[in-house]
C-alpha cells in the first residue's frame, strides 16, 4: 500500500471521530470519538514517518498516545464526579449554565 492509502485511512478515522464529537450527544461516545480523532492523526503521523524514513513522527505518536491517555483519564474522572452529583449521560442535559 502506498502513502496515499494510509493518509486516506487516517483522514477517514479522523473525520469519523470529528463527526462523532459534533453529532453524538452521549458523553462517553464523545470521549471515544475524540480518541478516534487522535488515532487518525497518529496513523497519519506514522505513515509520514515511515514514508520520510524519519524517527520524529514515531516519537510524536508515542507522546500523542500518552497525552491521549492522560486526557481521557481526566475526562472520565470529570464524568464520574458529574454522575455522582447528577446522573447524566447526554451533554444536552448539561444546561445549568446559561446567561
Amino acid at each position: 500500500m502506498t502513502l496515499n492509502g494510509f493518509l486516506v485511512v487516517g483522514a477517514l478515522i479522523f473525520s469519523i471521530g470529528a463527526m462523532g464529537v459534533l453529532i453524538r450527544r452521549n458523553a462517553i461516545v464523545m470521549l471515544m470519538s475524540i480518541e478516534l480523532m487522535l488515532q487518525g492523526a497518529n496513523v497519519t503521523l506514522a505513515a509520514f514517518s515511515a514514508y520520510l524514513d524519519d524517527q520524529a513522527g514515531f516519537v510524536l505518536v508515542i507522546f500523542s498516545l500518552t497525552v491521549a491517555a492522560a486526557e481521557v483519564a481526566v475526562g472520565l474522572a470529570i464524568l464520574v464526579a458529574l454522575s455522582r452529583v447528577y446522573p447524566v449521560v447526554n451533554v444536552d442535559q448539561l444546561d445549568s449554565l446559561r446567561g
Binding site: 508515542i62 500518552t66 491517555a69 474522572a77 464520574v80
Partner: protein, 120 residues
Amino acid sequence: MPSWVAVVLLFALAFLFAVGSLVGTMALKPRRKYRAKVTAYESGMEPIGDARGRHSIRFYLVAVTFLIFDVELLFFYPWALYFNMIDDRVSLFGVGAVFLAILATAFVYEWRKGALDWNR
C-alpha cells in the same frame, strides 16, 4: 481461469451459506414461544436480574488508574532499547529514574487519597 476466481468463489459460497442458512431457518422454523424457551441460557441456572445492568462507577476509576500507568510503560521500550547503544549509561539511567520518581509521586498521591480503596 485466473487464480483469483477461486478465492472469489470461496468467499461467495461462504457468504451465501451464511445468509442462506439464516434465511432458511427463519422461513422453515416453527414458531412456538414459552417462558423457558425465551429466557437466557445460564448453564441451567435461573437467570437473575437484567443483562444490561449498569456497572459500578468504580470500574471507571480503576480503568483510569490502569490506563495512566499502562501508557507510561510505553516510554520504557525505547529507553530500554537505547540502553545498549549508548556510552553514557549513567545519565540515561538517571533520566529513567527521574521519570519513575515522578510516576511514584503520582502513585503515592493516588494511594494516600484512597483512590485504590474499593470500599470508599
